[in-house]
């Protein structure tokens, strides 16, 4: 177990393994994304209340739900950095922050465009929207904290702490619609029956889009982490050999 753990922490090992996985992940992502988008745009029946704006859900929900994964991911990586001082964990944490800010921004933007006609407003300071905006600013905070501190080691530690603290906001976002009354609707439940709310014709394409966007998140994270490895490990023997062979 400990052997496996320390092996996993080795940038070289991660670089080689992720290189093998990337084509498969990218292929799966492209396939699911094409199927998901075509399904959502052409085949999903218009909602009885919202008409064709329901198609916005197939972008908004995947991005919104996956943007909740960033703080827990950065917190786990941060704890590993603080306790075991594993290099790879900090590289993942560093590349996850800007990606998370983009995901959160897209969730906010798509939700805003959806709400502008359906709710009658682009923005309202309700529990869900406000806590999501807070997550965006927290992520911007993590990014600026890292660039503000010159000492890379101190920056890694400070970001790790902020990421652990920021996890609290994830619970606030998740349960805001249940704890308080908000304009934002709560999460829907899926039904297997064709004649109930949220039947398979509504949620099957949603699940496809969620998996596709998850794969997109993993692929982008791996791509940027590999760049980070090449930069930070550029003096090591194996990176020099790799570049020489290229």
């Amino acid at each position: 177990m400990w052997l496996w753990f320390s092996k996993l922490g080795s940038p070289k090992w991660f670089y080689e393994l992720s290189g093998k996985w990337l084509p498969w992940l990218a292929a799966g992502m492209s396939l699911l994304l094409i199927v998901g988008i075509i399904w959502a745009l052409l085949f999903v029946p218009p909602d009885y209340q919202q008409g064709d704006t329901i198609r916005i859900m197939y972008v908004h929900v995947p991005f919104a739900s996956i943007s909740l994964a960033f703080f827990p991911l950065m917190a786990v990586a941060g704890t590993i950095t603080l306790v075991w001082r594993m290099k790879l964990a900090d590289m993942v944490a560093k590349t996850a922050a800007p990606l998370g800010a983009w995901f959160t921004a897209l969730a906010l933007a798509s939700g805003s465009i959806w709400g502008s006609d359906i709710w009658g407003t682009w923005w309202i300071w309700d529990g869900r929207l406000t806590s999501m905006l807070l997550q965006f600013f927290l992520l911007v905070g993590v990014i600026s904290l890292r660039s503000a501190l010159e000492d890379a080691d101190a920056a890694a530690k400070a970001c790790a702490l902020l990421s652990i603290v920021g996890c609290i906001n994830v619970f606030v976002i998740k349960y805001s619609v249940d704890w308080w009354n908000t304009l934002h609707q709560p999460s829907g439940s899926f039904s297997l029956s064709d004649e109930a709310p949220n039947p398979p014709e509504v949620w099957v394409p949603l699940v496809i889009m969620i998996v596709a966007v998850y794969l997109f998140f993993v692929v982008s994270l791996i791509l940027s982490t590999r760049n980070e490895i090449l930069e930070r490990e550029r003096r090591s023997q194996w990176v020099q050999e790799l570049i020489g062979a290229n």
Binding site: Y48, I118, G120, W180, T182, S189, E195, P197, N198
Partner: protein
């Protein structure tokens, strides 16, 4: 695990737990301010000061919508099925506005208990259905009308 690592991990866990509890308590204490709107019951029972800018959330009562012929003036009642509050509004309503729809209105209550709205927003629920299924269920007399959460969480 080495002793100093265990110590570090314990400190991190304690700090995280402490912060979670304190944030939880703050949110709990502030929950009335975080709530986006008052319910018609809260307004009817006089929890709201007259003239104060507030939001009210409820369902548009069936058969209560009266709109003027020559202007955008509209009158309707909003209800949480316990109390109903009359609302007066002049302006453009959101696309989803109709009887039986959840709404959130911004404005003030007057001495007579009438709510003068400056803005009306639609609150929709998390249930999505195709128009055909909805029509079929309505024809069969199945009650599919699901109401967005109207009752303020107990706090």
């Amino acid at each position: 695990m080495k002793a100093h690592r265990q110590k570090k991990l314990t400190i991190i866990l304690f700090v995280a737990a402490g912060l979670t509890v304190s944030v939880g308590l703050i949110l709990f204490a502030m929950s009335q301010n975080i709530n986006l709107f008052y319910t018609p019951t809260q307004v009817a029972e006089g929890e709201v000061t007259i003239g104060q800018q507030i939001r009210i959330g409820g369902m548009v009562k069936e058969g209560s919508v009266v709109s003027a012929n020559d202007s955008l003036q509209v009158r309707f009642e909003t209800t949480d099925f316990i109390h109903a509050v009359p609302i007066e509004y002049e302006g453009i309503l959101p696309d989803l506005f109709r009887e039986g729809q959840g709404i959130v209105a911004e404005g003030t209550v007057d001495a007579a208990g009438v709510f003068h709205a400056s803005r009306v927003l639609a609150k929709h629920d998390e249930n999505y259905m195709s128009q055909e299924v909805k029509a079929a269920l309505d024809a069969a007399g199945v009650n599919t009308e699901t109401h967005p959460s109207l009752v303020a969480p107990e706090s």
